[in-house]
């Protein structure tokens, strides 16, 4: 158990990505792989799972404000502010195939950007379909562009295609030359991407999110069917998701009740 003890680390840099999203960089003794996550302790507030958006020191997480914990972090966050980190946890994106498509929705880009770079580093052709509400929420657009072509979709049409990124992804997959899909974003989006990829016979890996307490495979809070998102995931393959009763339909609330996803 000794390798994953809580480390207290000062924030080395805080980057404002958009008015609601910041990237926090810190140095820690961890060696994460693309798609893995850590438990981020915001002292006096909460501890939440976060994907690594940068894998190497200074490593980073990219956080959109959506609840008490993330708001508390955003309010406190400045250089030198100390947080607790433990990890890395979970499995990681497999880096394989000949031509890959990453489909990211909003801040879901934080979970796949390191994988996009790993594909490029491995010499695998990678394109990205990136959807967001508006142009200013296209975090890491430049990092993705440095790895390969990026197809943008925005809800308001302020950049790229006006509409859903799933439509963009479906069109790209329809041309039949991709053999791998990576995706992270809202579950309703990922469900469409997984269904499309499965129907096209293309391998697909999706990074899932569930409420977590322990992060280490014991508390049963993050269950998907009989799998744990924290240790069996967070990355699940399309064939497993095709059989899932919960994916895209059900999640558990903080007390373990089944609620609509």
């Amino acid at each position: 158990m000794g390798s994953r003890l809580t480390q207290i680390v000062p924030l080395e840099d805080v980057v404002v990505e958009d008015p609601k999203t910041k990237t926090y960089r810190f140095r820690a003794d961890m060696h994460p792989r693309p798609g893995q996550f850590l438990m981020l302790w915001i002292p006096r507030a909460d501890e939440v799972p976060m994907a690594y958006s940068y894998l190497e020191n200074p490593m980073g997480v990219t956080v959109r404000e959506y609840g008490d914990a993330t708001r508390a972090l955003a309010a406190e966050s400045k250089r030198g502010y100390r947080v607790g980190v433990r990890g890395p946890f979970g499995n990681s994106f497999a880096v394989e195939g000949r031509r890959a498509l990453a489909v990211a929705g909003g801040v879901g880009i934080a979970s796949v950007i390191a994988a996009i770079q790993a594909y490029a580093d491995a010499g695998i052709a990678i394109e990205t379909a990136f959807g967001a509400r508006t142009k200013q929420e296209l975090t890491f657009l430049d990092r993705a562009k440095a790895c390969g072509p990026v197809h943008v979709a925005t809800d308001d049409g302020s950049a790229g295609y006006r509409g859903l990124v799933t439509d963009v992804a479906a069109k790209l997959l329809h041309d039949g030359t991709f053999d791998m899909v990576l995706t992270c974003g809202p579950e309703v989006m990922m469900k469409k991407v997984v269904d499309t990829a499965n129907a096209a016979g293309v391998h697909v890996q999706a990074s899932l999110e569930r409420y977590m307490k322990c992060g280490i495979g014991i508390c049963d809070a993050c269950v998907l069917d009989d799998r744990l998102v924290c240790t069996d995931g967070p990355i699940f393959w399309g064939d497993e998701l095709a059989k899932s009763h919960d994916f895209g339909r059900w999640r558990r609330d903080i007390s373990g009740r089944r609620v609509k996803a």
Binding site: M1, G2, R4, L5, T6, I8, M39, W41, P43, R44, D46, E47, V48, R82, G84, R86, K213, C214, G215, I216, G217, I218, C219, D220, A221, V223, D225, D226, L228, R252, I254, S255, G256, R257, R258
Partner: protein, 302 residues
């Protein structure tokens, strides 16, 4: 080959290992998965009358010597939980239902409902060290243990195990109180009240400040408690606390346990820990001339 079949308070188990309450047991799917991986039975998360969110994070702290937790009894409530028990039961799992309540009446009501879902037995969480107003006070009062056990015994027909806290001066007196209340057995021990502090931040790490320690650090405490209960009270014991391998389990049996529960060891050995422990027990028994689990129970008492 040694026979690993176990019998405790009239329950027949395919082997003497059980999933301890609080681990991978909030959902039917996970309980079934653990049972399929080799556990002799699974004990549910502690379930109360209403849905409960539990504490905010951090709720767990991994330590070199074990695991500190203060999840605070999160559970979907006894009404919704029917779906989870039935799912595990329909898959063939042997399920023991863990329950809690604020008083004897509430315990009895929740236990009665749990029993109606088809569990083999109920376990009373009389000693959670990290849920305010529930458990901690009960754990310190033998009369409350007796009263709650008696009320539950009146409301169910299946065997009742009262789970005891090690955070008391004389645990055997609490086992005796459970016996007076009519318990069919006791489970010993619950977690040891503990704390972790961040020196860097000058504060407790757990949001709840205090939590319960499990894992290898508490094995000697658990062995001592089981041994003391066995000396003082004639009642079947489910031994729990820091069991990671077959030898640990055999030590608990020799201290007086009829079966054992495993939780934290899942961290180090995965859910296959149950089949590993069984194989290690069987190998040890073969090498040392023991044919049956029952022959080990209490063997360390002179």
């Amino acid at each position: 080959m040694a026979d690993l079949g176990a019998e405790v308070a009239g329950l027949r188990l395919r082997n003497p290992t059980m999933l301890a309450s609080g681990f991978l047991d909030e959902t039917g799917g996970s309980m079934l998965r653990v049972y399929s991986a080799g556990a002799g039975a699974v004990v549910t998360k502690s379930i109360g009358p209403e849905p409960r969110a539990g504490n905010l994070n951090p709720t767990v702290v991994e330590l070199d010597v074990g695991l500190l937790n203060a999840v605070g009894l999160p559970n979907p409530g006894i009404v919704e939980y029917e779906h989870e028990v039935r799912h595990a039961r329909e898959g063939g799992a042997a399920v023991i239902g863990s329950v809690y309540g604020k008083d004897a009446e509430e315990f009895a009501a929740v236990a009665g409902r749990m029993a109606s879902y088809g569990v083999l037995a109920v376990e009373l969480n009389l000693s959670c060290p990290h849920a305010k107003g529930l458990g901690t006070e009960v754990a310190q009062d033998p009369e409350a243990v007796e009263e709650i056990t008696r009320a539950v015994k009146r409301s169910v027909r299946v065997p009742v195990f009262s789970k005891l806290s090690p955070n008391v001066a004389d645990i055997a007196s609490f086992a005796d109180a459970a016996k007076r209340g009519g318990a069919d057995g006791v489970t010993a021990i619950n977690t040891v009240k503990s704390m972790a502090i961040s020196a860097d931040l000058k504060m407790p790490i757990l949001k709840n400040r205090y939590g319960g320690l499990s894992g290898p650090a508490i094995k000697p405490v658990g062995l001592r408690c089981v041994y003391e209960i066995r000396e003082a009270v004639d009642l079947p014991i489910l031994g729990v606390g820091g069991i990671e391998n077959g030898r640990d389990a055999i030590e608990y049996l020799m201290a007086g346990a009829s079966a054992v529960q495993i939780g934290t060891a899942i961290l180090r050995r995965g859910i296959d820990v149950f089949s590993h422990v069984c194989r290690e027990m069987s190998d040890w028994m073969d090498a040392n001339g023991y044919a049956r689990v029952a022959d080990l129970v209490g063997a360390a008492h002179g």
